[in-house]
């Protein structure tokens, strides 16, 4: 199901393209990002039940945000695909709820800071993306399918259980097992 990631064969990574948008306002770099991510975001939104033209509007709004917020991208915190995923996710929610997705405020004086500054994490998020993809590929089919449904289907765990004709406890435990395995993959790096 999962095709091997081809990014690493590219001389220029998507992270570098976002940085080119941030520092040089490069429309050529933006065009490449659009070409790669926009059709994938549309696919993601349509799987979540957004019909084609509405999905396309959300994709366009999300990609405009990629242009506008490129300066806030930090490759130590997130890969290009993770950062763009969160932008599209939030745009979809904002549209559904007419309210902003509740998120923490990193500058809130009441926030309890990380024990170690994130800047000290030496492994780039991009490498962990490849590891996660491999980990998903190596999951037993029954687990990888549930993980995909957890992100891509607009269904609660209870609804997924009904659809798969499984007890809710089994759905939850398989998702937990899968998350645990993937977590180990990511942690092995750090």
């Amino acid at each position: 199901m999962t095709s091997a990631p081809d990014i690493d064969a590219d001389p220029v990574s998507y992270e570098t393209l976002i940085e080119a948008v941030a520092t040089q306002r490069s429309k050529a770099a933006f065009g490449e990002l659009f070409e790669h991510f926009a059709p994938r975001l549309k696919s993601y939104l349509m799987r979540l039940g957004t019909e084609s033209s509405a999905a396309e509007e959300v994709v366009q709004e999300a990609m405009v945000m990629v242009w506008r917020k490129a300066e806030s991208f930090d490759r130590r915190q997130a890969s290009a695909s993770t950062w763009i995923f969160t932008i599209a996710r939030n745009k979809r929610i904002d549209r559904l709820r007419r309210e902003r997705r509740p998120e923490l405020d990193p500058n809130d004086p009441a926030l309890v800071p990380d024990a170690e500054p994130q800047a000290d994490r030496s492994v780039e998020a991009r490498q962990s993306r490849v590891r996660i993809l491999t980990a998903i590929k190596n999951l037993p089919e029954e687990q990888s399918e549930l993980i995909r449904m957890a992100y891509f289907d607009d269904k609660s765990h209870a609804e997924i259980a009904v659809e798969k004709d499984l007890p809710l406890g089994t759905v939850k435990s398989r998702i937990r097992l899968a998350l645990g395995r993937m977590r180990r993959e990511v942690e092995d790096l750090g």
Partner: protein, 222 residues
């Protein structure tokens, strides 16, 4: 593992739903406010978001309409300023006790909420977290006082913002999240010394089971 931060966390499935953008608005407020106090769960949510990013990467693309790129390109040179998030000016106590994003829903501060008595030493103020399928409220329990024994229609999540309480499942202090499922019948007791302030988000109603339950249940809208 972080050595600071809360000891009791939201369930992994809820953090996953939050990262995937599927949690309800009220549950998302609770999770995000917990994240402000919990570096460990922040890290976990980042990992779940990274899984979402990797899945996007492995999704078969769906073609956009022909003019999609040119239509986006045309918007790039438009002037744009991020709308500043409105910061309600609240009192120092609210500022210190309630992190964002929950604080954004308390423009009148903790004391300015419509508090109603819910028993001896217990007060409740119903919140509007923009999600009417879910009952959300702040509860304050005076030192040493208890919430009457109750069970839950579906699932009740409690996050402590100030003070601490204890029930048969353990002790809960600032930032801790307790998850009550339908089979849990519990009687939270606030610790002596300080009032306990909690955010409670109930999906599917709440049933009191004690002697005075008939008096109280009509107060709790479903």
């Amino acid at each position: 593992m972080a050595d600071i931060g809360p000891l009791h966390h939201p369930e992994a499935e809820l953090l996953l739903d939050y990262a995937a953008g599927k949690a309800s608005q009220a549950a998302s407020v609770l999770v995000a406010t917990h994240l402000a106090l919990c570096p460990e769960c922040r890290r976990q949510v980042r990992e779940y978001e990274a899984i979402g990013g990797a899945l996007i990467e492995s999704t078969p693309p769906v073609a956009l309409s022909q003019d999609a790129l040119s239509s986006v390109m045309a918007q790039l040179d438009e002037a744009w300023e991020e709308a500043p998030t409105p910061v309600p000016a609240v009192d120092a106590e609210t500022m210190q006790t309630v992190p964002e994003p929950l604080r954004g829903y308390l423009s009148a501060g903790i004391e300015g909420l419509p508090w109603k008595t819910r028993g001896l030493g217990v007060r409740e103020a119903v919140l509007d977290l923009g999600d009417h399928s879910v009952r959300s409220s702040l509860i304050r329990i005076a030192p040493g006082k208890r919430i009457l024994s109750h069970t839950h229609g579906e699932v009740e999540r409690t996050m402590v913002l100030k003070g601490a309480y204890t029930d048969s499942t353990g002790r809960y202090g600032r930032g801790d999240v307790a998850v009550g499922t339908p089979d849990l019948d519990h009687t939270p007791v606030a610790e002596m010394g300080e009032e306990c302030l909690c955010l409670i988000v109930v999906e599917g109603g709440l049933q009191f089971t004690g002697r005075f339950s008939r008096l109280l249940n009509p107060l709790m809208p479903r």
